[in-house]
């Protein structure tokens, strides 16, 4: 009897969550960029008994801390979707940039509590995967083998296409279709790039992508057009919207979508081929709220989580069939292992040669 009552509660609970998820999605669809819908076949909670124990512990913990480098809109979409499924677990987000790895490493070294889940670009996880918890959750079974930044520990949660051409539609009403369109003398002094010496792996990878697909002469020609450099994506995106520069050869979908939604005169295209970099995520092994972290990461790896983070054009997903996600097969993904200090120095010299 007890087992059948608990089964009935689980079924009713799942049904209630499903109705709530549908209602919440309908109400909030217009608030998020794109406003698409979660896949109809997304499973919210697994009924695996062992996993249910983890979930129960996570709900007792009640909250956990997420350190994330992702854009606020992506964090918000993911957390909102997560809380539709797990309303008992509060996500405390600390958003940051280059300082996050130092903080996490300091916490690991000092065994101090801070981040329970860390979401960052891939290189950190390749080096530090040993400090993370090995995952054994329902979503792991369906996760593609080739999309682990650190085996069984840090999934490649998103691939962000970075070779996006975004332009001001008042400056360039005809728009752009690909990189070849940038090499027009009319674009002299009107192109923006996000490059900050000394170049990081992602900048060098972008230049290598251009050289590999369009030749060295492309970089030379681009340099002759005297592009303007910006320290990061946000100032450059704002510069495009204002017309300070007319077109940029790189950006992130979330920034552009947000600007479009605000009514800015911008438009964009993801190039084919495209260049992108990966975000990975992991649960810190020394975390005292690791169950909550595991539940979150499991959700992140599920179709619903992947749609929340990558759907509606926000990124590429390791999972297929995610509504609106950029087709990952067209993205040449940065492998940070290739960019050793010597290789970075070499690309710095090339950058100075072409754009100095």
């Amino acid at each position: 009897m007890r087992s059948s009552r608990s089964t009935v509660r689980r079924v009713l609970g799942a049904a209630a969550i499903g109705v709530l998820a549908l209602a919440t999605t309908a109400c909030t669809a217009s608030e998020s960029p794109g406003g698409g819908e979660a896949p109809a076949n997304a499973e919210c909670r697994s009924d695996d008994a062992a996993w249910q124990k983890i979930v129960a512990t996570a709900e007792e913990q009640g909250s956990f801390s997420l350190y994330s480098v992702a854009a606020p809109q992506q964090n918000d979409r993911l957390i909102e979707a997560f809380n539709e499924c797990y309303p008992e677990i509060t996500v405390n987000v600390t958003r940051g940039a280059g300082e996050l790895p130092a903080r996490v490493e300091a916490e690991i070294a000092g065994k101090q509590q801070g981040a329970d889940v860390f979401l960052y670009t891939e290189p950190w996880f390749i080096t530090n995967g040993g400090a993370l918890l090995e995952l054994d959750s329902p979503s792991v079974e369906n996760w593609p083998e080739e999309f682990w930044s650190y085996p069984a520990t840090a999934p490649t949660a998103s691939i962000t296409p970075w070779s996006i051409i975004v332009w001001n539609t008042q400056t360039f009403p005809d728009g752009f279709e690909g990189f070849d369109d940038l090499l027009d003398e009319a674009n002299h002094g009107k192109i923006g790039l996000t490059m900050a010496p000394p170049l990081a792996a992602v900048h060098s990878g972008y230049l290598a992508f251009l050289e590999r697909n369009f030749g060295t002469e492309y970089l030379e020609a681009l340099g002759e057009l005297e592009p303007k450099m910006y320290p990061s994506n946000v100032p450059m995106a704002q510069a495009i919207a204002s017309g300070e520069v007319g077109v940029a050869g790189m950006s992130t979908p979330v920034l552009v979508l947000d600007l479009k939604e605000q009514g800015a005169p911008v438009d964009w295209v993801v190039t084919d081929p495209a260049f992108g970099f990966s975000y990975a995520a992991g649960v810190l092994a020394h975390s005292e709220r690791s169950e909550a972290g595991q539940v979150f990461l499991d959700f992140f790896m599920s179709p619903a989580g992947q749609f929340a983070f990558n759907g509606d054009g926000l990124g590429s997903s390791a999972l297929s069939g995610i509504d609106g996600a950029v087709d990952v097969s067209t993205v040449q993904i940065l492998d940070p292992r290739e960019y050793t200090p010597d290789v970075l120095d070499e690309w710095q010299r090339k950058f100075d040669q072409y754009f100095g």
């Binding site: 790895p101 010496p197 000394p198 100032p235 919207a241 204002s242 010299r349």
Partner: protein, 562 residues
């Protein structure tokens, strides 16, 4: 000196020795772990500097911006203080505070405000200038805020507010008696300025120039946000770029900061030699009624000069920020069709901003409550260095300057390393953040109060000692009341700097210790300019309220001083 004598000296001066130790611990805690990175492995980081591509170009640019901005700031700040001093009393009381207004605007927002005004393509001022006949043929400019010359001008205009505060305080404490004596003997206004006023201000000018030079060499926000477009790089932006790469090469990043540390130590020695005997520069300390006749033209010119500076350095950037805060994106034009309040609704509908305001006020006020008395003690030690054992005085003086020498892009990492040591449980705590704030604000607390002590002079405190009062009674009954307005001005300045500080706050924050500057930094890194403008304006309001409160405590003289 023999060991016995040294021990006897130490025993006699144990309070000052304790103070020196406290300063050393506070200051070296973040500096040593950083410099260890640079010196480790046979100073591999420092040796690698020469191989960094474009390193010497970066050094040259750093020096150019540093000294160029110093020159602009010293001329502008000193002339502003003199102009305010030349105003009639009523006008002076109304305008005295205004040249310090640029300090009330957070650094990131101030730069962004200048971008809104002076972007060569989309700046509002440039668009207006291109409507004038002289510039009507231009399609961009005429002012390009991204070029080195204009970066130097921007940095100098921004730092002029610091110089103004120092010199204004110096002039207030100088009194007018020597100037009156010179005029009675036939000297004109110009001669009084060059032969009496400016020489008497030498300690103030030297201290101000040391602080401003260190600030301009360590400038980060301006060069980062303005310099990248035209390829302008300085040591601090290189450091910042290195800290955004993974893995972070701490050895090279810390090594890039080593020259600034060396410069700071050299400046400590240089400033002492430039000042020499401080007692030569003591005014009568009485702010007497001005006897020199004023001309209407002179008053008008002085007023226009002050108003123009305030307009350019503070009012226009705030207006630009205000306008963009009411738009969904930076449009580059002044169209009213886009105006909306949704950015403010979004900012205040989430608890983050209000919680950050509360956290900011808590940690800032706690830090001020400690750093002001600590700074006064250090200032007293430096002021009375001739009575102290030389090594103790030298350690206190050098220690009080060191935090200024470590760039904002790096000092946060220094604290992170220190707080992560086993047994040091300060990471992510309010106490840790407060201690870090005390350390980085110590130079400002010391310099401002030292300038006040020098200008007040020894006559009154010597009279108290002669009358039988002990050092403690003299301190609390004579020095503190006389220095109350300087204390309040110092508190106001430190309040401003701490509310805007983010280099340390970004690295030491935890979910419960997020301050407003970190929210602003986050928005700049992942949000939009309109939201940056909203948060910046909220910070400006909070800063202004704090400053007003400090000045009310300090009385009307504090208002005049600042």
């Amino acid at each position: 000196m023999t060991l016995v004598r040294a021990t006897r000296e130490l025993g006699r001066q144990w309070p000052w020795v304790l103070l020196a130790l406290a300063v050393v611990v506070f200051v070296l805690a973040p500096v040593v772990p950083l410099q260890w990175q640079a010196l480790d492995n046979g100073a591999a980081g420092i040796r690698a500097l020469a191989d960094l591509p474009g390193f010497w170009d970066v050094v040259v640019m750093t020096l150019a911006i540093g000294f160029g901005a110093l020159a602009v700031a010293m001329v502008l700040g000193t002339s502003l203080a003199l102009a305010v001093q030349a105003l009639p009393d009523r006008l002076r009381r109304g305008l005295a505070f205004t040249p310090a207004l640029p300090l009330v605007i957070p650094g990131i927002a101030h730069v962004v405000g200048f971008v809104f005004l002076f972007s060569p393509e989309s700046g509002y001022i440039n668009a207006f200038l291109r409507m004038l006949p002289f510039f009507s043929e231009l399609t961009t400019g005429p002012i390009n805020v991204y070029q080195p010359f204009w970066i130097i001008m921007y940095t100098g205009i921004n730092l002029a507010a610091f110089v103004y505060l120092f010199v204004r305080t110096g002039l207030q404490n100088l009194g007018d008696d020597f100037g009156m004596a010179a005029r009675v003997n036939g000297a004109g206004a110009g001669r009084v300025l060059w032969t009496v006023t400016l020489p008497m201000l030498r300690p103030t000018l030297v201290y101000a120039s040391v602080v401003v030079l260190l600030l301009s060499l360590g400038q980060f926000t301006g060069p980062l946000m303005l310099g990248r477009r035209e390829g302008v790089d300085v040591l601090t932006t290189q450091m910042f770029a290195l800290t955004q790469r993974y893995p972070i090469d701490y050895a090279i990043a810390a090594s890039l900061g080593t020259p600034l540390l060396v410069v700071a130590l050299i400046l400590v020695v240089v400033q002492r030699r430039l000042i020499g005997d401080q007692n030569r520069f003591v005014g009568r300390g009485v702010s007497s009624v001005r006897q020199a006749p004023r001309s209407r033209v002179g008053t008008a010119l002085a007023t226009v000069y002050v108003v123009l500076y305030v307009l350019l350095a503070a009012v226009l950037p705030i207006l630009a920020l205000g306008f963009v805060s009411l738009t969904p994106y930076w449009s580059g034009n002044l169209s009213l069709e886009l105006l909306t309040t949704k950015n403010y609704v979004a900012a205040f509908s989430e608890p983050d901003l209000l919680v950050a305001v509360g956290t900011t006020l808590l940690v800032t006020l706690l830090a001020i409550a400690v750093v002001l008395p600590l700074g006064m003690l250090v200032a007293l030690a430096i002021y009375n260095r001739h009575r102290l054992w030389k090594p103790v005085a030298a350690v206190i003086d050098a220690g009080a300057n060191l935090p200024l020498a470590v760039p904002a892009a790096l000092i946060g990492f220094g604290f992170l390393f220190a707080y992560s040591l086993p047994g040091v449980r300060l990471y992510g705590t309010t106490a840790g953040l407060v201690i870090a704030y005390i350390t980085i604000m110590l130079p400002f607390a010391v310099r401002y109060q030292l300038a006040t002590l020098i200008s007040v002079g020894r006559a009154t405190s010597d009279a108290s000692l002669v009358a039988g009062a002990g050092p403690a009674r003299t301190f609390f009954r004579i020095i503190m009341p006389l220095g109350r307005s300087g204390l309040a001005s110092s508190a106001a300045l430190i309040f401003i700097l701490l509310v805007h500080e983010f280099g340390v706050s970004v690295l030491l924050r935890a979910p419960g210790t997020t301050v407003m500057s970190v929210l602003l930094f986050d928005e700049y890194g992942g949000g939009s300019y309109p939201m940056v403008a909203v948060i910046a304006l909220v910070m400006t309001v909070v800063t202004s309220v704090g400053v007003i409160a400090a000045l009310i405590f300090g009385g009307t003289r504090a208002l005049e001083r600042i």
